[in-house]
């Protein structure tokens, strides 16, 4: 077995092109996914059975089937129907790039909606009652209390979901896209150095995951900064009545 460093260096710029497409897919479908997930999560957290039902089916389907099936359903499946092929949507649905984004967005929306739902339900009841007590309407409550709090609570778990999405984006290579994995496969078809190129691609994925983890840690420090304040030690002889259980240790 020989290990060829030259091949890695020679094709590394092309791998980085692939990494760029991977990032593009993750960022665009991540944003679309969150935009879809918020209303779905609000519906799932509703107390009405009939509002919960559709989101439940949606989430159950997308979390219970492999991402590969979902991509193939969008990319190959859509072409089965005459109506779609003759509609205005066809120029979009025949492009693997848009199909990948549609499939990834729908997939991540289902997973994030479940995260947001549990975050919404984890908001302390007292805070909701307080919002009620100051006379906020339901939309104001959602905008001022529910969403900001839920985002803060869901953030660490959402960071994991983005890492999973990064890993899932490798499936774009199965519908001919030249993302990081697709690029590595193309280079290997030419050079026949599978171990070297896949390892190099793996290293780039690791760097991307590390960047995403770092980014989310920064957002976490900013968004949940109330958890990270450092207070001076409480004086030992402080009047017990002046103690604040939220600040003093």
């Amino acid at each position: 077995m020989s290990w060829e460093w030259d091949v890695i260096w020679k094709y590394f710029p092309r791998l980085l092109d692939g990494a760029w497409l991977t990032l593009e897919l993750v960022v665009i479908s991540g944003l679309v996914g969150v935009a879809l997930a918020v209303p779905i999560a609000l519906m799932r957290a509703s107390k009405q059975r009939w509002i919960q039902f559709l989101p439940f089916i949606y989430i159950y389907f997308f979390r219970g089937t492999p991402l590969l099936v979902q991509i193939f359903l969008v990319y190959y499946g859509a072409s089965q129907f005459e109506i779609i092929r003759e509609s205005v949507l066809w120029p979009i649905l025949k492009e693997p790039y848009w199909c990948a984004i549609i499939a990834f967005s729908l997939n991540t929306a289902a997973y994030s909606a479940e995260l947001f739902r549990s975050a919404i339900q984890a908001i302390p009841t007292g805070e909701m009652e307080a919002a009620e007590a100051v006379g906020m309407t339901k939309p104001t409550q959602i905008r001022r209390i529910i969403l900001p709090r839920a985002f803060g609570i869901a953030l660490p778990a959402y960071g994991n979901e983005v890492i999973l999405m990064l890993k899932g984006s490798a499936l774009a290579s199965t519908i001919t896209l030249l993302d990081l994995t697709g690029m590595a496969r193309t280079i290997i078809a030419r050079t026949y150095t599978p171990l070297e190129m896949f390892m190099a691609a793996g290293a780039v994925y690791l760097v991307l995951s590390a960047l995403i983890i770092g980014l989310f840690r920064l957002i976490e420090y900013r968004l949940n900064r109330y958890q990270y304040y450092h207070h001076a030690n409480t004086p030992v002889d402080l009047d017990p009545q002046l103690r604040d259980p939220h600040i003093d240790k």
């Binding site: 077995m1 089937t65 492999p66 991402l67 590969l68 359903l73 890993k167 599978p194 896949f198 994925y205």
Partner: protein, 230 residues
């Protein structure tokens, strides 16, 4: 849903998927236990290796792992074999490559689940085992493992769901699983939506069955709960 006589093909694919998932589960559990033992050991080298394993595997896509092992695995196996004086060509089939890749991925996540579960077991349990004169190995298998099991099963159940869905990736390297057979059926009927939807429904059934199985295992591993409810 009209499957036009391709139903049996999908069924045979389902059987391959089930075999792949179960084989990877068994091997992956072994990896996970070894990883957790290494992470909790006093040996720095083992701890370092286990940390490298979980960090590396959890940071790269499963598809990349499958491709690496399928296309590059024979090179590695042949290198190892040549140390033992065996120089023939060795090929790794898609099933073996799939089991290897999926169990490595499962093992990395299972390592964390087992580690957390083992940390939950009070130290006194070990000490009690020693006090009875059991060796560390016997204490582990008789006292610790049954308790770790109970704590780990919910986490492992989730990981098994992920594993079940990841089996679809092995169709990319040509294993005749559900996805592959759906693609074959699509090739001659030109009805991709029908067959991929059928495949999706089969996966839904499988994941639902896995959920039921996990619930059953949770009950079976927890004698206290069993006694109270039945």
């Amino acid at each position: 849903m009209d499957l036009q006589g391709f139903g049996h093909l999908l069924l045979s694919g389902t059987w391959v998927t089930i075999q792949l998932a179960l084989a990877s589960l068994v091997v992956g559990l072994v990896f996970g236990l070894m990883g957790a033992a290494a992470k909790l050991s006093d040996n720095r080298l083992f701890r370092g290796l286990a940390t490298a394993y979980t960090t590396f595997v959890r940071g790269i896509p499963e598809l990349l792992l499958v491709l690496t092992i399928y296309f590059g695995g024979s090179q590695i196996v042949m290198l190892v074999a040549s140390w033992f004086g065996y120089d023939e060509y060795i090929e790794i089939g898609p099933f073996i490559a799939g089991v290897a890749a999926l169990s490595i991925a499962f093992g990395a996540y299972a390592t964390e689940v087992f580690r957390m579960a083992m940390l939950e077991i009070p130290k006194g349990q070990w000490e009690a085992g020693y006090a009875f004169g059991m060796s560390p190995t016997r204490t582990f298998f008789r006292i610790i493992l049954p308790q770790v099991w109970r704590l780990a099963i919910p986490g492992l159940g989730n990981l098994f769901q992920v594993l079940l869905k990841d089996t679809a990736l092995v169709s990319v390297v040509g294993l005749n699983d559900i996805m592959r057979q759906a693609a074959v059926a699509t090739g001659s009927t030109k009805e991709p939506f029908t067959f991929y939807m059928a495949a999706a429904l089969i996966y839904l059934l499988l994941t639902a069955a896995a959920t039921l199985f996990t619930m059953f295992m949770e009950r079976a591993s927890n004698p206290a709960a069993r006694g109270r409810h039945s």
